[in-house]
Symmetry: C2
Subunit: 235 residues, 2 copies
């Protein structure tokens, strides 16, 4: 057991200097996370297939009251290769192909997958799609054997992340992975956003239900007209 593993579970590293790349940062979820991490002082690079789209999303965020935020845009390979930690927020449809194309740039890095493979049907609502590897996060781990893949940030509301009137988010981020140093680091990153807390949530083979749970949160939001989040009690 390494020194890191002997540490108490609440003793998390200082991650304040880390830069963050966000693949799929032009979507609401990625853009929202980009905004919150930049507000917390992290240098953020929004990645997209096209540099202009990435730059436009970055310009959106640095306009208005958020002027001066440390956000820039780049093509996905540059966003991945030039950042300490890379968040995957691409649509599920493009998940596997995007990651396969970035294997070299993502090697050795902590890759945080927050993709929820969900389908929607009228009258049925949201439901989990079957994933051959078990979950989006396990697919990422299979495609990126040289990266340290972590699953996190599945349940954060893109709407709240982007809302300029919302100062803090009232939820715990479940962080899953097989590498404790990496889960600790991502838990610490979650804690950089006011109101959020990173809580260890299990190993990657239990990621499916965390992704799928987003379908339940969508139902809850609909029933209660809410932006539901989860808190873990007794932790």
């Amino acid at each position: 057991m390494t020194e890191q593993q002997r540490k108490a579970p609440y003793d998390l590293p200082d991650v304040s200097g880390l830069s963050i790349g966000i693949l799929g940062g032009t979507g609401d979820q990625g853009k929202g996370l980009a905004r919150r991490f930049a507000l917390a002082g992290h240098r953020v690079t929004i990645g997209s297939r096209k540099a202009e789209r990435a730059q436009a999303a970055a310009d959106d965020l640095t306009g208005g009251q958020d002027g001066g935020l440390p956000v820039s845009g780049a093509e996905n390979p540059a966003a991945a290769g030039g950042s300490d930690v890379v968040i995957v927020a691409v649509p599920w449809e493009g998940h596997k192909a995007t990651l396969e194309s970035l294997r070299a740039e993502l090697a050795g890095k902590i890759v945080v997958d927050c993709v929820n493979p969900l389908g929607f049907e009228k009258g049925k609502g949201a439901f989990a799609l079957p994933v051959e590897e078990g979950s989006a996060a396990e697919q990422a781990a299979a495609v990126l054997p040289g990266s340290r893949v972590i699953a996190a940030f599945h349940h954060v509301s893109a709407k709240l992340l982007l809302d300029p009137d919302v100062d803090g988010m009232e939820l715990d981020v479940l962080v899953l992975g097989d590498d404790r140093e990496a889960t600790d680091l991502v838990q610490a990153l979650a804690g950089r956003i006011p109101g959020m807390r990173g809580v260890y949530g299990g190993r990657l083979h239990n990621a499916h239900q965390i992704e799928a749970l987003t379908a339940n949160l969508i139902s809850i939001n609909r029933r209660y007209k809410a932006h539901a989040g989860l808190r873990v009690t007794d932790v």
Copy 2:
């Protein structure tokens, strides 16, 4: 849309007079729920394959400081047929066969399934088992077409339920089902246990991940030496 469906989601029925049968009430989870519902004033019948085992579990609960609790024991068919609401807390291995054998007694009733189909492996910990019907709750619904099957109480700690020093439970019970009157009723039942709140959690086709999430809670408990529960924020 019926009158019931137009109600606000927080407007739950009075369930104080309902009697509760618990199949598998001799296990820790069922016994713990029996204890808490009896403490809340419900007449509870613990069911088991053998009447003597059911009676022994009931005697356990009514001994000591809980003397006088309205708990009795009976064979499963009597526990099912003689109660207003029936909770299924049997081991996953016997789930399908037990329910098939009680189809007549459970017809027309609200059946609350709280079974978590989990496996355990050394070095891997807990993980969700595949279920042909999608989840234990959907299996119950398939086996019991004449009952109103609801999924709930998956994440309550049997240890805390049985602990005489624990007055309240700090968690929300996610209640899933396709029949709003029945989910409302089970939400109200959850609210009878101090500290618990019943929150609508989606339709039955999204029950799998709620059952499977118990594996993550086991990992969380292990990491933090806790009895973790979930709270839903903004609801």
